[in-house]
């Protein structure tokens, strides 16, 4: 009896297998051809604040890889930290009419009018990580308000009521007019305003520069030896603040918090104890978001102004437990 059932069962399974096999030969993936067709003859232009930093190199590498695979053209205009050169590059890009411009804004104002002009010229614009005050179809990047709030909550947890600490905090901003500073401080203040026990004893801009961050932190440490935490707006810059705390021999007492693209440097410094926590906006993840948006634009008939959407990057927390879990990236990998 059992043998019979088994034989029937096997026969049934085989026939199903055969049937689906023939079906597979007839059915084609109808998306594949139009997918590859949609990239032909297209151009994507990338205008970073500057090449040569982990963030922009990471994004560009991913876009270049996608371009090589799918056969669209990818061009980079590097204004090398000059807003002026960036404005000129954007103006000439608009004249050149690429299909998509991926732009990384140095501040919220400078490119705003030109981005509008680009949209009027029927160019789709994706903004990366640093938003302009003018919103285009898509923004891919950090929710700076969120990252500020998350950081401030950690400050409250470590330095707030019941911690037995002084509640004194130093905040080191980047360039004051950049989205990374404007929205991040807003997020921080959203939280800290509800916690009067936290005293911001210094709120200074270090211009994304580690040396300035170090000088500021050293002076603050002299004035407030009982400082509880330092919060820096970018890991590359906060390295200077961390060095100041390390030299004062206070890495154990003072919490150093920051955020960044999650390059190997961040993990190394969490490991060595210079940073206590780094919230990473995961450049490989962002890169995939950017490339996905490029693919969607090419496959749809999306026109500038069709939508106003944001893809906020999920944050990853680099701490003592996660630093060696492969959470960080480097260009070689």
């Amino acid at each position: 009896m059992f043998k019979k059932i088994l034989t029937i069962g096997m026969a049934a399974a085989m026939s199903v297998g055969l049937l689906s096999g023939t079906a597979r030969a007839e059915l084609k993936d109808e998306l594949r051809e139009p997918y590859f067709e949609s990239f032909k003859g297209k151009t994507v232009a990338f205008l970073p604040i500057a090449m040569g930093i982990d963030l922009t190199e990471g994004w560009a590498a991913a876009m270049q890889a996608a371009a090589d695979k799918h056969g669209f053209e990818f061009i980079v205009r590097d204004p090398n930290w000059s807003t002026n050169a960036g404005t000129q590059a954007l103006t000439s890009l608009i004249a050149e009419q690429p299909d998509i411009i991926v732009v990384h804004n140095p501040d919220v104002q400078s490119y705003a009018r030109l981005l509008k002009k680009a949209e009027n010229a029927n160019i789709n614009v994706i903004q990366v990580n640093m938003k302009s005050s003018y919103s285009t179809n898509l923004y891919v990047g950090v929710d700076w308000v969120e990252i500020g709030e998350v950081g401030a909550q950690e400050i409250v947890r470590i330095c707030g009521e019941g911690s037995g600490k002084s509640g004194k905090v130093a905040i080191i901003q980047g360039v004051l007019t950049g989205a990374g500073s404007i929205y991040q401080i807003e997020g921080i203040m959203n939280v800290l305003n509800q916690h009067p026990e936290i005293k911001v004893v210094a709120n200074q801009a270090a211009d994304w520069d580690a040396t300035k961050a170090k000088a500021i932190t050293q002076t603050v440490l002299q004035q407030h030896p009982d400082l509880c935490a330092v919060y820096g707006f970018w890991d590359v810059m906060t390295l200077g603040a961390g060095a100041a705390v390390e030299e004062a021999g206070k890495l154990d007492e003072i919490t150093v918090l920051t955020n960044g693209g999650g390059s190997q440097m961040a993990c190394d410094n969490v490991k060595s104890g210079v940073f206590d926590k780094v919230w990473s906006y995961d450049v490989p993840g962002q890169s995939r978001d950017i490339v996905d948006m490029i693919k969607i634009i090419f496959q749809s008939d999306m026109k500038p102004g069709d939508m106003r959407a944001a893809l906020y990057t999920p944050l990853k927390e680099i701490n003592q437990n996660t630093y060696d879990s492969g959470i960080c990236w480097s260009l070689e990998k």
Binding site: T211, A215, Q218, Q222, Q223
Partner: protein, 325 residues
Amino acid sequence: MKFNANWLTQERIVFLIAIVLFAAFSFGLSGFFMIDNLIVLMRNVSVLGILGIAMAIIVIGRGIDLSMIAVMAVSSAWTLQLMQDGYSLWLALLLGLLCALAVGIANGLLIAFVEIPALFATLATGIFIYGLGKSFMLDLDVVYLPEDTGWFESIGKGSIGPIPMSLILAFVTVIVVWLILSKTRFGRFIYGTGDNPLAARITGIPVRVIITAQYVMASFIAFFAGIIISTSVSAMNTRIFHSTMIYDVILVVVLGGIGLSGGKGSVRNVVVGTLLIGTLLNGMTIMDIQFTMQNFIKSLILLFAIILDSVLHPRNEETAQQGDI
């Protein structure tokens, strides 16, 4: 007592402003006049002071070196890059130093032998070495110091007793350059060349060699300053080339009273200028004044010092020199 305007040189004006500010901060700001804070104050401007000394050597010889920040950033960043790539510390240091000296020699040759004005020659070499560095020598804008470099790290981070290493090194630079400028024949030749190059040549001073040597010395000191910065913050950010640092360096020199027309001033002027800037920056950080506002206040005080100097010592045909900027 009769007031003598000649006594009040720019160096003394700046020194007085520094003292007034210092006194005001000491009374007005709790925590300013403490030995630890004063050490931090001097330490934060130690690199600026060292670069100021290098610039002073050149300015006294009637030149200017706009390539200094580029040389500092690229040569020291390259040293870190080579260390990351697995070169030994000494080899990396040697190659970095050679890179800095090569630019110094190029500057000297262009200025002394090809006779291109220093302003243009060094502007060009600065951009050249920065471009070369970014395109061929360095992977990224910011080059990090590899982990566990032992004594090397202590150049920027260590201290002897309570005194930070970078401050001691700045002090050593001041003494050595002071000795060279005031006690050696070479130093006197620099003054002679700066004061009147033609007369110096007629007297038999090897003017071209002296000029070349000045730029080589300045590049050497710039490399040294770069190593202090990179070991101090564990990274070298070559973007520093785009900052206002070169102007800050020139400012410290000019503010202290070394005329751009050459032949005048000494290391002491740079020290005074650096201390004023240090006092200002430290006091304003304690007061938690915003960065942009700090720049504004800094520029106001500098303008005040320069205006006071030109009111007290109006320029005329007698005091003006050829080549005065």
